[in-house]
Symmetry: C2
Subunit: 437 residues, 2 copies
C-alpha cells in the first residue's frame, strides 16, 4: 500500500489496482499483541486505512482477491475473487510484488488442530483474539521465544493465562546475543512466564479436534491455546513461479531501486532482500519499518523518481511489560559468520539519575570491529525509555562511526532520562578502552 500510495501521488493519472488475499489492506501487524493484551480497545483500531479510504485516493484496493499467477510474457496477472471463486486476467504496465512473509509452521502432528494459531495477518490476529475472548483459556503454550512469542506472552500473562514458551534453541530472542537473551529470559521468568529452552516441539496432542498439549522430547505442556511463533519466511512462491529471480537469502532479489530481475516488475517489503549497511551483504529482514520504506521507494521510482534504498541496519524494538529491548546492526553470530574480527562489551547503567524516581537498570551491549573500533551492532535491555536509545547507535552505524568517535557525543541529559554521562557514552567508553588496550 505504501508503493500504491506513493505511485499514485507521483502520477495522479495512473490507474492503481491492489489485490490483497486477506480481508484487510493497511493495518498495524505490530499492534496485534496489544489487541490480545487488551491495551488496544478494538480490532478496527488496528486498521490504518480501509479499501474505501484508498478508493477516495483513487486506489482500487481489492481485498479477498488472490493473485494466483503472474504472466511476465503478456504482462498480466491472474486473479481469483476468493468470495465467488471467479478468475480474471488483469494487464499491467508496472507490477509490484509485495507478497510479504508468512509465519513458519512447524511440520509436526497436530499443527493444524483447533486452538493452534499463528500471527500471519490481521485476520489471524482477530481470530486469536476472538478465541481468547470466547474460550477464556487457562493455559497457553507459545512455540518460539522471538519478538512475537515474547509479545504474545506479555499479553497472555496480562490476561492471567498460565503461559509457557517452548523454544528449540538455547536462548530467547535469537536476534540478540545469548547474554542479553538470558537477561530477557530472566525478566520473563520473574514475571511468571515458564521458559523452556532447548526444547524442540515434536507434536501437538489433539482431543476432539482441539489442541490439548504440546509435546517436546519427554516433556508435555498442557495447553488450551497454542501459538506458533517460530519465525517467518519471505512469501516468494508466486514470484518464483513467474521466473523472477530469488536471491541467496530466499527472498526476491531487487536492486536499490526495488527493481526485480524483470523489467517493469518491482518488489518491496518482507518478500524481498535488503542490503545490510554493516556487511553490505543481502539479508532478509521482516519488519514493518523496512517494508514501508521499500514500498515508498518503489512507488517513487515507478512514478518517475530516482531514489535508492540505502539498506538496513536491522534496528528493532520489542517489549515485555515495562522492559524494553532493542537491537541494531549485526550480532555476534553474524560477525562470526561474515566474518569480521570483533570485540564486545556489556555495560550496566541506569535509565534515570539514581536519585530520580523510577530509575531502572539498562544493559547496553556493543559489538565493534577490532582493531578499528567501527561500531557493528548494539543491543539494549532495560526499563521504560531504554529501547529508543538504540537509535543513537543506529545513527552511529549509519554513519560508520567508530566507538572512539562517540566518546564525547553531545547527547541530551536530564535526571529523568539518564545520568550526566549517558548510558550510551558509558558503553562507548568501555568499548574504546578495549580498543586502546
Amino acid at each position: 500500500m505504501s508503493a500504491a500510495s506513493q505511485a499514485k501521488r507521483s502520477m495522479p493519472d495512473i490507474e492503481v489496482i491492489v489485490f490483497e488475499r486477506s480481508g484487510h489492506t493497511s493495518y498495524s501487524a505490530c499492534g496485534m499483541p496489544y489487541l490480545l493484551k487488551g491495551d488496544v480497545g478494538s480490532e478496527d483500531s488496528l486498521v490504518v486505512r480501509t479499501p474505501e479510504q484508498f478508493a477516495e485516493r483513487g486506489i482500487q484496493a481489492k481485498i479477498r482477491h488472490e493473485v494466483v499467477d503472474i504472466d511476465l510474457g503478456s504482462g498480466s496477472v491472474k486473479v481469483e475473487d476468493l468470495a465467488s471463486g471467479t478468475r480474471s486476467e488483469v494487464a499491467f504496465d508496472e507490477l509490484v510484488v509485495a507478497t510479504g512473509s508468512y509465519p513458519t509452521m512447524l511440520d509436526v502432528p497436530g499443527a493444524d488442530a483447533g486452538g493452534v494459531f499463528a500471527l500471519r495477518d490481521l485476520d489471524s490476529g482477530i481470530a486469536l483474539h476472538r478465541h481468547l475472548m470466547g474460550t477464556k483459556p487457562q493455559r497457553a503454550v507459545i512455540i518460539g521465544a522471538g519478538y512475537i512469542g515474547v509479545e504474545v506472552a506479555d499479553a497472555f500473562i496480562a490476561r492471567g493465562i498460565d503461559t509457557t514458551i517452548v523454544e528449540a534453541s538455547g536462548h530467547a530472542m535469537g536476534t540478540f546475543d545469548e547474554d542479553l537473551g538470558e537477561t530477557i529470559t530472566g525478566i520473563l521468568v520473574s514475571s511468571g512466564v515458564k521458559v523452556e529452552l532447548g526444547e524442540a516441539v515434536d507434536g501437538i496432542e489433539v482431543s476432539s479436534g482441539s489442541a490439548v498439549s504440546v509435546v517436546a522430547g519427554s516433556k508435555t505442556f498442557p495447553a488450551d491455546v497454542v501459538v506458533m511463533a517460530v519465525g517467518s519466511k519471505p512469501n516468494v512462491a508466486l514470484a518464483e513461479r513467474a521466473g523472477i529471480e530469488i536471491g541467496q537469502t530466499g527472498a526476491i532479489k531487487v536492486d536499490d531501486h526495488m527493481r526485480t530481475s524483470h523489467a517493469g516488475v518491482w518488489a518491496a517489503g518482507d518478500c524481498t532482500e535488503q542490503k545490510s549497511i554493516v556487511t553490505q551483504q543481502p539479508v532478509s529482514i521482516h519488519l514493518g519499518t523496512v517494508a514501508n520504506k521499500m514500498g515508498r521507494i518503489a512507488g517513487i521510482n515507478i512514478g518517475g523518481g530516482d531514489v535508492a534504498f540505502p539498506g538496513v541496519a536491522g534496528t528493532a524494538l520489542s517489549r515485555f511489560g515495562d522492559t524494553e529491548f532493542a537491537r541494531t546492526g549485526i550480532d555476534a553470530a553474524a560477525a562470526e559468520a561474515f566474518p569480521i574480527a570483533h570485540l564486545s562489551v556489556v555495560s550496566r547503567s541506569r535509565t534515570k539519575a539514581s536519585y530520580y524516581p523510577g530509575s531502572e537498570p539498562i544493559h547496553t551491549k556493543l559489538l565493534f570491529e577490532n582493531p578499528s573500533g567501527r561500531l557493528l551492532g548494539a543491543q539494549i535491555v532495560g526499563g521504560t525509555g531504554s529501547g529508543k536509545r538504540i537509535d543513537i547507535f543506529a545513527m552511529a552505524i549509519w554513519n560508520r562511526m567508530r566507538v572512539q568517535d562517540m566518546l564525547y557525543a553531545d547527547l541530551a541529559y536530564h535526571p529523568s532520562v539518564s545520568g550526566v554521562w549517558d548510558p550510551a557514552l558509558i558503553a562507548v567508553r568501555k568499548a574504546a578502552e578495549m580498543i586502546e588496550a
Copy 2:
C-alpha cells in the same frame, strides 16, 4: 572533580588538591528542582561523592576553601579557609580553573531581600528547599522562563503554590525558537502557571526584610518567595585577574585540549568557552554534560594523554510535568546571526501509535541549511519519551548529515514508541521536500 578524578587515575602518584568555596564537591545541580518538587527524598541524595569519598581515591577535596588569587609567576594560588579566615599559599605544577558559572542577579531594588533565591550551587538549592518546607509559601514569582525557571515552576505547582513566571523577553525558553516557546508556554499555562511575557522586573518590594511582591512596569505580582532564574554567566573574575585570556564570549579561552593561554594552566566547565560543532565558533554553554566532558579531557591531558574535545552541539533537555522539551544544534536566531541561509519546518506526530495507550503529541522542528539541506538544529516538545529522541538529531549534526541523508535511517519502531514512520523521519521528510521544492 572530573578533571581531578581523571588526572589521579592517569597518574596515581600525583598529589591532587581541589579547593571548593561551597560546602559540597560533587553533586547534581540538575536534580535540585526535583528536591524542591519532592521527587528527590533527601538533600543528601543529590551528593554524588563526598570529600571523604574523594579522599579514599587520594584526592584532597577541601570544601569551604576559596581560591582568592592565582599567581601565575610563582605558580601558586592563595587560598582562604572560609571557616577560619586564614589564608595560605599553595604551589602547583598544573592548575585547573573550574570556577563554573553563577546565576545572573538582576540589579534591582530588593534583589538581596529575604525570600529571594537563586540556584547557584547545592547550598543555595538546599536553602530554598528549607525555606519552602519552613515557610510554606502560598505565592511564588519566578523571574525568568528558561530551564531553571520552568523546572522550578514545575516543582512549585506540584507543591500547590500559586506560581507566576515573569519573563522579560517575548517568549519562554529562549534556547528554543519562538514557535516552540509558545507551545511550551501553552503547556505551562494549562497547568496553572501564570506566564507574564515581555515584563522586565523593576524591583522587588520588601517588608520587614522579606520580599512581598515583584514589580514589573505597571504590574505587581505578590510573592512569598521569589526565584531569580535569568540565566548564568561564566565565573571568570579570578582567571581574568591572573591574566588568563578571556574569549569573545566572556568565558575563558581554551584550546581543544583545555589549555588556557598560560602553560600549565587548564580550564574546564562552565567557566570556559566551547566550540560549536555547527558554526565552529566559540560559544559559552553551561551544561553539566559539557562540563563533565571538558573536565575529563583536562584530566586525561594533564595525566599525559592527548585527547581533543570535538566541541558541542548544544544538546539539552528539560521537562515540565510529563512534557519534555529538548534541543540540539543552533536555533533560528543563531542561524540569522551567524549568518547561515536556512529553512525550518515543524512537524506534528505522536509518541506512540495512535491506537496504543498513552500516545501523546510530539512537535519536531528542524532547522537546516538552504539549499544544501545540512541539519543545523532540532527542537522537540512532546509527551513522555519525546525528549531523548533529540539524540537522533544530535548524532546527525555530529556527522554533518543533510536531512536528505536521513530519510531512510533505520530507527527503531514498536507501537509503544512511535508510528511505523518515526516522528524523526516524518520531520526530515517534510524538510527534504522543502529542499527539493
